[in-house]
Amino acid sequence: MTAPETQGAPPPVPAAPEHLQGRGAWFKRLPVVHQVRQSVGLQRGMLVTGLVLCAVFVVTAVGARWIAPYGWSQLRTPEGAFGAQQPPSAEHWFGTTVGGYDVLSRVVWGAQTALLVVIVAVTASIVVGVLLGLVSGYFGGWADRVLVLVADAVYAFPSLLLAILLAIVISGGQSSMWGGVLAAALSITVVFVPQYFRVVRAEVVRIKGEAFVDAARVLGTPHRRIMTRHVLRNSVRTLPLIVTLNASEGILTLAGLGFLGFGIEPTAAAEWGYDLQRAVADVTSGIWWTALFPGLAIVLAAMGMTLVGESLNDLADPRLRVRSRSRKVAGAVAATSVDAGSDADAGTTGPSKEES
């Protein structure tokens, strides 16, 4: 989650061919920088656009208190109340809502809520999913079988419906800012855990059979050390892809929850889905600004992350990767083929499977 945004700088200009530079500077081998350098043409365009959108989203979220002209639940200034459903004007660039809030401020603060939820949800699901996948895949046995069955069942569960049930359980539907953020994030976490579990477990089961694991075992290495040093490090290479795709799905699920009335109360924090729900009636009477701006915010944030995820996905899949013809040198190919092998199993059903 954090890696793609912090590396949002424009791609470095490729200097000498890669094979002449040896292993290159350390920053060129960082996850996203490496992919930006590796990509060409359309793929690079998509990746960079995605990174820029993500960077804008993160900057807006972090700097909300300086960017937003008003508070998210502010109804008046010392000069007087904002008034309800005012069209865009100099004081309120995006107009005001039916509840009398400033739309621009709610859109900006909404980025903060969305970012918090996504960070908590993705972090929690990685920790839980990877741990479960590692232990379950490594030791096997009946517990593993049961976990696989449960994970498959939960994976097939319509995600928004599951999130609704969990939101009811966790918060009874509505709550304060942190309560609401945590409730929404945990609801989304449960939806995501099976995805990490499945991917990590499959990799662990595959790597467990490799000779170097046997060698370590013969040498008397304890299970714990084999699991962390030998197996885990080799099983998590595909995770960045899932993280970016999950981040966008998390934003959409949060918005869906808010739209169905299971979001965060407007006084506790700004949330785009809730604002859209309140805008349904406005649209019927031709008031467009209350729906358009929060909706666009969702689209841009989700689109940025999807673009990054899709591009990383294509770059990791040798069948979909585009190579620059002028740089088709043996050294360059050897350097890229490092991540290619790990995706052999993901390729059989097509990359879209992860995004359902």
Partner: protein, 331 residues
């Protein structure tokens, strides 16, 4: 034998929903707490049997589901089964239109994108597909509504049929729940037109979302089959490019497409819930959000369980069909 797994899967789903819904307490307090006195509440809880041991209730719930009994809603006191049959047809109708829209748009454009890979048409189509994925279906719905019904006035704002059309249907005694069938039964082309114009925007909103997924699916799988040797050999034998794509490469690409498309049923149902809420399309999803507002968790539980089971069974059937169609897949 792998197919027997559908039984534990459904069992896990049903149990998960039960546990989650009961973790909050009994549904009567959730729905009516604060509105009734504690004595009245206790009386209602006892009458509904929610004061008995949880395992007894769980057993009753399981056996109820097996006999098609999902309980009775609290807010409007109807059997959940009746709610499901009344509104299920509307959701099925909407989903069918959406899949039709998605097939018409997603498949041909996916083929074009794959054939013109990395050229301008592919670039445009891929960005559009990502846009379709990143746009929440309710936002797309609101925009369509704003432009085509409020500003241009081409289509009705919400609902499935106008009041006049509904009266016509009543007269004709048509109540299958499928509006198009009912409209045909009245024999009045005006009613049919009315019903269809109500369906255009919701179907487009949900269909566009699904079309994006289909497009990417078709594109990825077509790219892999277009790169295989038999396509190259067909091309060298002089098979026309058009036929190469639509006949030679399409068939083998179809199996993974069917498998993954079948898995999209979950996305389609979730999309239907949100679309129905946006357009007041009175189907299961619309009812679900109404019951959520009313905090009627018996009804919510019933609808969610049925949707989850539909998804699980569909995925299972897709697996079976894939195994039957593809000689390479064997369990």
């Amino acid at each position: 034998m792998r197919f027997l797994l559908i039984i534990p899967t459904v069992f896990i789903l049903v149990t998960t929903v039960f546990v989650l819904m009961r973790a909050t307490g009994d549904p009567i307090t959730a729905a009516l707490g604060g509105r009734l006195t504690p004595d009245q509440l206790a009386e209602r809880i006892q009458a509904a049997g929610y004061d008995r041991p949880i395992l007894v209730q769980y057993w009753e719930y399981l056996s109820g589901i097996l006999t098609g009994d999902f309980g009775t809603t609290i807010s409007d006191n109807r059997p959940v089964t009746e709610v499901l049959t009344t509104y299920g047809a509307a959701t099925l109708e909407l989903s069918t239109y959406a899949v039709l829209v998605a097939l018409v748009l997603g498949v041909p454009f996916g083929m074009i994108a794959a054939y013109r890979r990395d050229l301008l048409p592919d670039a445009v189509l891929r960005v559009l597909a990502i846009l379709a994925y990143a746009t929440p279906v309710f936002f797309a719905g609101l925009l369509l509504k704003l432009i085509f019904s409020v500003w241009l006035g081409w289509f009705p704002v919400a609902g499935r049929v106008s009041t006049a059309g509904e009266i016509e249907m009543r007269k004709a005694g048509a109540d299958s729940g499928f509006m198009v069938v009912d409209a045909l039964a009245t024999g009045d082309p005006a009613v049919l037109l009315d019903v269809l114009s109500h369906a255009v925007l919701p179907s487009l909103a949900l269909g566009l979302l699904t079309a994006g997924v289909f497009l990417r699916l078709v594109r990825t799988n077509m790219i892999s089959t277009l790169g295989t040797e038999f396509v190259v050999s067909a091309r060298s034998r002089g098979v026309k490019e058009r036929r190469l794509v639509t006949a030679h490469a399409w068939r083998p690409a179809l199996i993974p497409i069917i498998t993954v498309a079948g898995m999209q049923i979950a996305m389609l149902l979730v999309g239907a819930v949100l679309t129905e809420t946006t357009f007041e399309w009175r189907g299961l999803g619309f009812q679900l959000s109404e019951y959520l507002q009313a905090r009627d968790f018996v009804a919510v539980q019933g609808i969610v369980v049925v949707m989850a089971v539909i998804v699980a069974v569909t995925n299972f059937l897709v697996d079976v069909i894939a195994a039957l169609v593809d000689p390479r897949v064997r369990y």
